[in-house]
């Protein structure tokens, strides 16, 4: 099936972005409206495509659109083509839907910013790039979108780049992402070298006959890419700093959409990972490590956005773990991705709303007792909270529970390890999220003198309410009769192998709920029953100190990569300066000297010029004569 309207999905926000950037200050008054409309109309096109897709039967749902022949060199041919199938439509609706809500929210949130137009231009650019990422029909097209979201993310993290730390945060995110991007480009190159193609359909076909070694190499490189973009271990360090960007950006890019691109990449490449068990196992291990890593950092953070960022890292760890568990897990990874898109975006917007009311304060030790002053924010945030810790019937319960269940069902030692990790993660999640909610909305007021908390305007709370509705309902809808799983089945192709049931679903649910209750209980004891201090206590255990320092991730990177890297760079600069430049300067001096010397032949006298001609003529005859001797 082909469709001619796929391109509008991307073109609308792309044109919006171009208009806003090119029109400059002239667009200041109406730029944000145009950008929101562009994103909104893209959502409408997405809905139209979705309705069309629903009307067709399972195997025929995917549509493609060839835009133009992009590269044609020898046997290497790549079309710029789009493909919309059951997997990408989930993303399209998430990106454009949540994206549009966040556009609306930002109109109010950024209303005092002089550069609001530029902000919306970048947002639109991000939407276009992210849509290209999920709509590309080959790894190369995906790569373009992949780089595009990296750029948009960089621009938006550093949006307030007048603050040097923010600019540094943007650079950090960009560089960490480059490491991952290198993985993706290597994956593409290996794929072309060994399989001779880079399109999804082509690789899928070739993967059946390809050697396991090649597929493992491609899989590991794809995993590297995913760890960069999705802030997974060991490339996770940038996400916390990325919170320097305006809060709507954190909600859209660093919670709901871009950071989940890694999950998309792995699920999209299911045909590679299913044929390369080693790579698949590595995916699951990375996911498991990160889900604990993020959760532990989350426990120690006092900055509300950084705590949420740590939580995002941890939740994506769940998704990666799910995706690493093979056909049984793909659908649940995507389900968790979608529900997480709702509740985490909603909570970020809530955090933004709190900051809006508290004069841009982010330290939770300066909050407290806000629920009376911001009832809507509290209600929507509360729903998101219940969803993330997995209380039934909120969305997170369905998606996270399923991942834990699948983890146990992986069987054997592997099953026990992954299952217990996921369960432990759930308990920690319950703890740090309860801590966050209590410190912000309950307890005593610890505000700064100038803070006057108030509820945010309607343009801000309406998107929050809509996302809260999603946080309540989405999990139920997706799991009702395995709807999402069946929907995705043609793409992720789970041949229904007989699953070993290590623990029955009911047992897993009860265990999870018990652990969640435990986590909540400890947090309540620790933060509601005892006074929260305005200053973070210093006499804490070494573990808390390490957790506060993001488990030493920056210290590690600096010691292992940055300082030796700087030494190498400095050495190279010296070599460049003395050896290479020295040679160059020497040659230049020699050249210039000979130029000046030769110049003296130009005397300006016709007689000497004529003599040169005569000598030249004699020389010519002489040379010819000598040559022919």
């Amino acid at each position: 099936m082909t469709s001619n309207s796929l391109v509008y999905l991307i073109a609308l926000p792309l044109i919006g972005s171009a208009v806003l950037l090119l029109a400059g200050r002239r667009a200041d008054r109406w730029g944000h409206v145009l950008a929101t409309l562009a994103s909104g109309s893209s959502f409408v096109v997405g809905l139209y495509q979705f309705s069309q897709m629903l009307a067709r039967s399972g195997e025929e749902r995917a549509v493609t659109q060839k835009l133009f022949s992009w590269i044609s060199v020898g046997s290497f041919k790549v079309d710029a083509a789009l493909m919309l199938d059951q997997l990408s439509i989930c993303f399209v609706l998430l990106i454009t839907g949540v994206g549009t809500l966040i556009h609306i929210y930002s109109i109010a949130y950024m209303s005092h910013d002089l550069d609001r137009r530029r902000f919306f231009a970048y947002l639109n650019l991000f939407i276009a790039a992210m849509l290209l990422l999920v709509l590309g029909d080959s790894y190369l097209n995906l790569y373009v979108g992949w780089e595009g979201v990296g750029l948009a993310s960089y621009l938006l993290i550093g949006f307030w780049n007048q603050k040097p730390t923010y600019a540094t945060a943007a650079k950090k995110a960009f560089i960490a992402n480059r490491v991952g991007d290198l993985g993706l480009s290597l994956a593409i190159m290996i794929s072309f070298a060994t399989l001779g193609t880079v399109s999804f359909s082509g690789v899928k076909e070739q993967a059946e006959h390809a050697s396991t070694g090649a597929l493992t190499a491609i899989g590991i490189m794809l995993l590297v890419a995913a760890t960069g973009k999705s802030a997974q271990f060991p490339l996770q360090a940038w996400l916390g700093d990325a919170m320097a960007g305006p809060t709507p950006v954190s909600a859209l890019i660093h919670a709901a959409t871009m950071v989940t691109a890694g999950v998309y990449l792995i699920v999209r490449s299911n045909f590679i990972f299913d044929a390369a068990p080693t790579a698949q196992l590595m995916v699951a291990i990375v996911g498991a490590i990160t889900l604990l890593f993020g959760a532990i950092i989350g426990m120690a953070k006092d900055d509300i956005k950084k705590a949420l960022a740590a939580s995002t890292m941890s939740q994506i760890g769940y998704m990666i773990l799910g995706a690493g568990l093979g056909p049984a897990g793909y659908a649940f990874a995507i389900m968790h991705l979608l529900t997480h898109g709702f509740f985490k975006a909603g909570m970020f917007l809530g955090a933004g709303s709190v900051m809006h009311g508290m004069d841009d304060e982010v330290n939770m030790r300066r909050f407290g007792g806000l629920r009376k002053f911001m009832p809507i924010t509290f209600a929507t945030f509360g729903i998101g909270y219940l969803a993330i810790i997995g209380v039934p019937p909120f969305a997170g319960f369905y998606s996270k529970d399923k991942i834990i269940e699948v983890a146990f069902n992986a069987g054997g030692v592997k099953g026990w390890i992954f299952g217990c990790t996921a369960l432990l993660g759930a308990a920690i999640t319950a703890f740090y999220m309860t801590r966050l909610v209590i410190m912000t909305f309950a307890g005593n007021k610890r505000w700064d003198a100038k803070a006057h908390p108030h509820e945010s305007p309607a343009l801000m709370w309406i998107p929050m309410v809509l996302l809260a509705v999603g946080s309540v309902a989405s999990g139920f809808i997706f799991s009702q009769g395995n709807s999402l799983r069946n929907w995705l089945a043609p793409v992720v192709e789970h041949e229904h192998e007989v699953e070993v049931e290590l623990l029955s679903p009911a047992v897993v649910s009860i265990l999870a709920l018990l652990l969640v209750a435990l986590g909540v209980g400890i947090a309540v004891m620790k933060y509601l029953r005892t006074e929260v201090l305005r200053e973070a206590p210093e006499n804490v255990s070494i573990f808390t100190k390490i957790a506060r320092r993001d488990l030493m991730q920056d210290a590690f990177n600096e010691a292992v990569f940055m300082r030796p890297g700087q030494k190498v760079t400095a050495a190279l600069v010296d070599i460049d300066k003395f050896v290479i430049d020295g040679a160059v300067r020497g040659v230049a001096r020699l050249t210039q000297g000979s130029g000046s010397a030769l110049r003296t032949t130009q005397t300006g006298y016709v007689r000497s010029y004529a003599m040169w001609i005569l000598l030249g003529a004699i020389g010519l005859v002489a040379t010819i004569w000598i040559v022919t001797l």
């Binding site: 230049a588 050249t591 210039q592 000979s594 130029g595 000046s596 030769l598 110049r599 032949t601 130009q602 300006g604 016709v606 000497s608 010029y609 004529a610 040169w612 001609i613 000598l615 030249g616 003529a617 020389g619 010519l620 005859v621 040379t623 010819i624 004569w625 040559v627 022919t628």
Partner: protein
Amino acid sequence: MVSFDIPQLSYFLLGPILIVLCGAVLAVVVEAFLSSRTRPKVQLGITLVTLVAALVQLWRIRGATTMDAAMGSVAIDGPAILFQGSILIMALLGVFLIADQQHFTVVASTLPGSSEERESLQSGEQMTEVYPLTLFAVAGMMLFPIATDLITLFVALEVLSLPLYLMAGLSRHRRLLSQEAALKYFLLGAFSSTFFLFGSSFLYGYSGSVSLSGIQAAVSSSSGNSVFLFIGIAFVSVGLLFKVGAVPFHAWVPDVYQGAPTPVTAFMAAATKVAAFGAMLRIFYTAFDNAYWEWRPVITTIAIITMLFGSFVAIAQRDVKRMLAYSSIAHAGFLLSGVIALNKAGLEATIFYLFAYGIVTIGAFAVVTLVRDSQGEVTDINRWAGLGKRSPMVATAFSLFLLAFAGIPLTSGFIGKFSIFSAAYESGNTLLVIVGVLSSAIAAYFYIRVIVLMFFTNPSEDATSVVIPSFLTSATIISAFVITLFLGVFPSPFLNFISSTATFIR
């Protein structure tokens, strides 16, 4: 009993040249009879119409291939059409620049500094002899590369040279320098023409024929005294190498390029190279090709010396026009590599290079005409500092032309250098390629130095200003810019066109 046959001329095939000559004669009449007020416009009109008409006629004969257009004295073939077309296009762009009469002396016959000169300046009765002179020169240039006998070659050489000698002396500013340049050019030109004529007589003595085909036949059959052949080849080469400005016959180039009015320099530097290399290619490819064992070493030596000398000395220059002159010498060396290659690739590459180089040259000199102060053009390189800040468009155009001279990718210069060096390599002349690439690297230094000066150096105290270019000058710069970029990015249509047409008939 001496019988005399009526010469059979194909006026249709000779049309382009005849149109230019008719235009030139008409322009002489106009110069004599029209009032000085209307003259500049009428002359410009006549010249442009003539050149366009010649181009149209050239388009109409584009497929023709014959030796019989003028009793075997000229060849009409693919290269002929390409050379003539290049010359006409360059002449058009050059005339656009010449149209800015600010550069030309009002009455050339007045003594510099005399009271007549002052009077003529006050009266403002601008003489416009430069237009007919240009047209005569163009006619000679068009004949030079298609001539197939030594007599016609010599006539064409003189027809193209004499107007150029005069045009070099027409500068309004620094008239003494200009007149000195003209006289030097004339004296040295006459000297080298003598060598050409002398060489021609030796070749006639060797082969008993003045036609290129006759000489080739004699070389193939090795009849005749080979000493005559060697002297003939050497002396004819002197005449040709002088015109292209190869070392050691180059000495006039910097002085004349600097002294001549810049529009004339632009036209001359571009079109003369095409004409002279066109003739050289035809002579070496169709008459001397079997004697290549004799001439190849010496021409290779000259090419190497020329490339190195031009590049080295250009570095020491402080004057933009002189720097471009030495760059033109270096380019003559690069072009010689294509002649020496003596294969079809060499021919094609040289034709492409000539066109690309000519266009860039005109564009570069067009920019030079714009940078002035109250005394006229400013050619001191140091005073170009900071030009990029004050006139970014002009500086950008000049930078592109410099990059094209240097042979940086995405400009026509890269494609030209690449194809000419690969042709030379194909013919087995690795040494030439190595020296060529090395001297290109040396040359890049002084091109890029000017770019650095324009964009990254703060302007000096005594301000130069860029005048607002006239419509025609902008047209020249923009066309040169577009062509340079286009040939650098999409060279294949043009290369294919050259490849399909460029074969000498014998």
